[in-house]
Symmetry: C2
Subunit: 465 residues, 2 copies
């Protein structure tokens, strides 16, 4: 009988995270203080994050970090996740490629996000923190952190962008069900929020405003810290359990090598979670094509320069070296909300410079067509973000057919789309559109950061620009 | 390390369904024609269902029915489903009981429903049927059948109760994503629908009207049949893979016996799917308490008489012997829409008469309190229907604590609640209410069926009333 999926037994789950910082061909350049623009150290971050997470953030020595038993017990609620083979999709594409997908949609909040939320909640708790504040846009991260805080008995305060709070009540209700306090941002609970409400009582909010509120809350409230769902080194590391599981599962499927590894990348966390263990293989000489996928309307990896820019939209977060469209860049309102970030994780950005990753960009309409093809063959309805990884798969599977090559393709299925069906409705009704490349917007937002400190452009440890 | 869940390998999945009709202590009494009120045979059902499914419906000889390979390949999209142990819930209840839950929420539509939808779509296809018509209330069944028809390349037409069509767009969008044609009922597509629209252009619809439309569509359209998601013998049989898997998984957990088996029951299909293999053990002498759970506001099993009544609300379906509140009974608008059916599957009804099942009823508020307790301990957010089974578990776990007994409790987690978060919102806002017992409504609706043919009341093969 054909095998459709492979589970690991719980005792086969990886016991350590992979810290790619120990293996980087080119070390990361230091973050800069957003005010002084001078390199910052761990102590500068202490008001915002607990020191045990900061230590992970800056750890360049230890390739493997033990996953604490308390974290493992929470991960086991939904992990190990299945690795599935997409037979039906292969058949309809007529491809000789073998397509495998790592399904992170099986977690209670429905995405990969709780992999790091659970770890962050644990480390905050161990550090004596009682309460975590964060922001959320459409609500994926907010719901994952609410879930994690609930499991560890921490209070959770989520500042949710006002327009999403009103338009997407289901994600907010999820957060409430897990006991979090979710408020629309701008809120009356912070100085930043009150200031905006005074000037604009009907403000729809923005991710930038929500971040300002969450960070203010964290640094001014007792026993409270802030938490981020992507971009940072420790966040990406917590996701590597995905790729480590997938490797074991591919072996159980009888695969000795993989040709193509892909995932969508907004801040970079789900992609990195799958890809980093394979990047290590590639550094060690394996022939693997590793492809992060992004939307053409927010082309951080395929079009943006490598610069120092704020991690947030408002200039409160440290400046980090990354591919960035400029922190003031506002992407078109595509449905893949998780891919609308102006920058890219420094780790992913540097690996692109090193030539180890080969990013691609896709238009929204093509992504939805592929998402519907997926739902009608494989059954599961993908999140709009995930459809970008699916688009790589479809493209590569067709190429394998043309070349007559039995390639092995692995993707991360970052989450299900059953709370985001509005995008499918737009697609079916013919209302969904592709946006032109954001040339003018990029020019403007990149102008805002002209004259700033520049990181060295380096490839495999050598300065090239 | 503690084991949180046990998967089966795909080659360990049961290869046959369990047909409890071969083992019934009391055989079912025949269905009656809704017009003549005379016993009907397989041929009478031929315009509505394909003959291969009718043969399963009336099969009282074969205990085991092979699952066709083509059905198995579709079931393997999400099966075997995990059996999880609820450690966190046990801990918070301080119970010595060991609680296991069979998670049917992992299917693409999010419930146990596709177990039979996939089988029914296959048998229709094999019989030469090109198109299936059905009705749906809140949309669980409609989405499962849409999914199944998509996998087998059949057309699917779903008549969705108008008020749900308008108020619950997400389930409809799910159906569209799988390529089904979902229309609000009453519709202009059938005579029954047009007649109602003429008299009441703004009719909110009802399940009865939607059934009428779907059955009319099936019997008047070319190569079309009708499909039901619960109640019938073959539908319940397709669900028994749940209990057969669970038995193997309990063994892998090291459990040698189970004390309590429970599930919620609306029409009876998810409950039967888990319970029937354990009913066989009980018939053979095992000491197991088997508890179907229902809402107090639709107390079919705990309050209603055993009578002949229409399977539907309008008198088109055959009259079957079952516990029924009367086909005109309209239950209070509780959120567990799947438990608002006026009758109970004949198989479940007879097993209650035989004393093999011990039904219980729960109030809505208690169920939501237990659902929230579950979400905040086990992580996954249950469907409102599932919360009734959870209420049995909480009650029995507390009892085990009082008695100091290490009981083994098994429940079916019939589906996730992330598309039904509106009920949680009502609960948290304090707006959710308990309804009084429907004494007056029951009197009225039962009066409507006074003087009808009466089934014999039998217990373990002997007439007792």
């Amino acid at each position: 009988m054909k095998e459709f999926k492979v589970f690991l037994r719980e005792d086969e789950i990886p016991k350590q995270w992979y810290n790619i910082q120990a293996d980087l061909p080119t070390p990361l350049q230091p973050p800069l203080h957003p005010g002084t623009r001078q390199p910052i150290g761990p102590q500068d971050l202490a008001p915002v994050f607990p020191m045990n997470l900061i230590e992970q953030e800056v750890n360049t020595k230890d390739r493997w970090i033990d996953i604490p038993q308390e974290v493992m017990e929470k991960l086991l609620i939904w992990r190990p996740t299945p690795l599935r083979r997409a037979y039906a999709l292969e058949k309809v594409l007529g491809t000789p490629a073998r397509i495998y997908y790592k399904d992170e949609g099986v977690s209670p909040p429905g995405s990969h996000k709780p992999n790091t939320a659970v770890a962050q909640a644990y480390y905050n708790k161990v550090f004596g923190i009682k309460r975590i504040a964060t922001e959320t846009g459409a609500g994926q991260w907010g719901s994952a952190l609410s879930f994690a805080c609930c499991l560890f008995g921490l209070e959770c305060k989520v500042y949710m962008v006002r327009i999403s709070y009103d338009q997407k009540p289901y994600r907010r209700l999820m957060m409430n069900t897990w006991g979090a306090n979710c408020v629309p941002s701008p809120s009356k609970d912070t100085q930043a929020g009150r200031k905006i409400l005074e000037a604009h009582p009907d403000s729809p909010g923005s991710l930038g405003i929500a971040i300002s509120e969450a960070v203010e809350d964290a640094v001014t409230s007792k026993d409270t810290r802030y938490s981020l769902g992507s971009v940072l080194n420790h966040v990406l590391m917590h996701q590597t359990i995905i790729g480590l599981e997938a490797k074991k599962q591919l072996e159980k499927f009888g695969e000795k090598k993989v040709d193509i590894v892909t995932g969508c990348a907004g801040g970079g966390s789900n992609f990195s979670g799958l890809a980093f263990p394979f990047v290590l293989d590639k550094i060690n000489g394996a022939k693997i094509t590793i492809i992060p996928a992004e939307p053409t309307s927010c082309p951080t990896m395929t079009r943006a320069p490598f610069v120092y820019d704020f991690g947030d939209n408002v200039g409160m977060a440290p400046m980090v070296p990354m591919h960035s469209l400029g922190h003031s860049f506002i992407p078109a309102p595509i449905h893949a909300g998780g891919l609308r970030y102006h920058g890219m994780a420094p780790l992913v950005s540097q690996l692109i410079n090193d030539g180890l990753l080969e990013p691609r960009a896709y238009n929204q309409l093509e992504c939805y067509a592929n998402a519907v093809l997926w739902a009608r063959t494989e059954g599961f309805i993908p999140a709009p973000e995930t459809s970008h990884a699916i688009s790589v798969v479809v493209e590569e599977a067709k190429k394998a057919k043309e070349e007559g090559k039995q390639k092995v393709i692995l993707l991360i299925w970052s989450g299900h789309g059953i709370m985001d069906l509005g995008g499918y409705e737009s697609y079916f009704s013919g209302k969904l559109i592709d946006y032109p490349l954001p040339e003018e917007e990029m020019r403007k937002s990149l102008k805002d950061i002209e004259g700033w400190p520049k990181p060295k452009i380096m490839k495999m440890g050598k300065v090239v620009g």
